[in-house]
Amino acid sequence: MKNFFLFVFCTIVVFFQLSIEGVFFSLERIPDLALALVITLVISMGFEKSAPWLVLAGLLIDAGSGTIFGTGALAYIFIGWAISYLAAVADIRSRKILFAASLGAITVFSEITKDLFFWVSFRLKDYYLHQSFAVHANFFSLDYFLKIVYTVLAVYLIYYVFRRSSRSLLQEPIKLATKKRF
């Protein structure tokens, strides 16, 4: 039941990003819901339990991206692994404002790291296979700033929805990762 819930949750979030967001946001400002999902899962369940779902989310995103298949999953696994080492998150989870602030900071760094990763992947594909799409990676534009802001808001929303729905749909909520696991 728990795995089925996680599978449905992950696919819905990624399908939202692939299919629906483009209707409401301009292309260059699309919030990264898959990254929000990665952050939510790793902070809620720890790296080990969430790893298969990070790979699933990454591969689904890769299918719709211009990058080489597998690089998105690789990026999410790296980000998830790095986040899991931030013991501070576990320490301050009980303090709401500090937790919200650290969640925002994690999202900003993760988003930039991920986009750099994708940018390198695009460039490699372009260089070796000559079949990449042109990539816009202006990290100092209003569009990029808004993309990050929307992604931060998406992290809050997805974290909240995930915690609430896991409590109500499952017999017991998905156990929070302990400090030890971080």
Partner: protein, 267 residues
């Protein structure tokens, strides 16, 4: 802390497997993997997209004044169709004259179209493309032009999978299209400027162009039909070396709200 903890070992194992996957993709299986995943997920993506279109319409409706919204949409669509028709007729008239004079050949003015739903867009916002629900199974091939409203060019097929295809929009910097200014016949190359802008380069200094002029595909190279509407000139500049003119083009189609597009399979 021991480096080879359970978590790190699992991490390294997954990274190793994914690196193999990336390597295999890199060696030519990229399209097969993507095609497989898109084939499995395209019905869901399509449903999501249609559903979101409905929600978007509801929000749009609430944000406007009832029937005026629909009327406005109809008028815009009609206007686009008339503009496309008008542009094509002008072009056909010109082509007719030239051919009558020189060869006496009948112009081509009919395309075979394949209607398709837009089911997804670039999830990372780093490129400028959309994914549609028609692919190899419907005879879609790389390079086919994609249009809306009976003749307004939006892009070209850049990747084809079993039942989906990727269309690179004309606003993508990688997109290069042979175009001409309709009134003066000035030829140039269109490149996307990320976002909603397009730039027409390599226009000869000897040609006279002005703001508001319509720009259409020139058909040079034979990759797409002549006379597909692209947009209007919004600004004229000089190239850096002052050898050519350059023009900013405002696209005719609303590229941020594409739902149904037509792929030109034969022209």
């Amino acid at each position: 802390m021991h480096f080879f903890s359970r978590k790190n070992t699992k991490f390294l194992l997954i990274v190793f497997i994914l690196l193999i996957l990336v390597f295999v993709s890199f060696r030519g299986a990229d399209n097969s993997f993507k095609g497989f995943v898109l084939r499995a997920s395209s019905p869901f993506l399509k449903t999501f997209r249609i559903f979101s279109g409905g929600i978007s319409d509801v929000f749009g409706f609430l944000g406007s004044i009832g029937d005026l919204k629909n009327e406005n949409e109809n008028l815009i669509q009609k206007n686009q169709e008339l503009l496309a028709e008008n542009t094509r007729l002008k072009d056909i008239e010109k082509e007719n004259g030239v051919l009558r004079d020189e060869f006496g050949l009948a112009p081509k003015n009919k395309y075979d179209l394949e209607a398709s739903f837009v089911i997804a867009q670039d999830p990372q916002g780093l490129g400028n493309y959309v994914i549609v629900d028609k692919g190899n199974d419907k005879g879609i091939r790389i390079g086919m032009p994609a249009i809306v409203s009976k003749g307004i060019l939006i892009g070209r097929v850049s990747d084809v999978f079993s039942n989906t295809a990727k269309i690179t929009l004309i606003t993508d910097p990688a997109s290069a299209i042979n175009a001409e200014v309709q009134d003066s016949g000035s030829k140039g190359i269109l490149n996307g400027e990320y976002g909603l802008g397009i730039r027409m380069n390599m226009i000869s200094q000897a040609q006279e162009i002005k703001e508001g002029d319509a720009v259409v595909s020139s058909g040079l190279g034979g990759e797409m039909p002549r006379g597909l509407v692209i947009g209007n000139i919004s600004r004229i500049d000089q190239s850096k070396d002052k050898l050519f003119q350059e023009a900013s083009i405002l696209p005719e189609a609303n590229l941020s709200d594409l739902r149904i597009v037509f792929l030109v399979t034969k022209f």
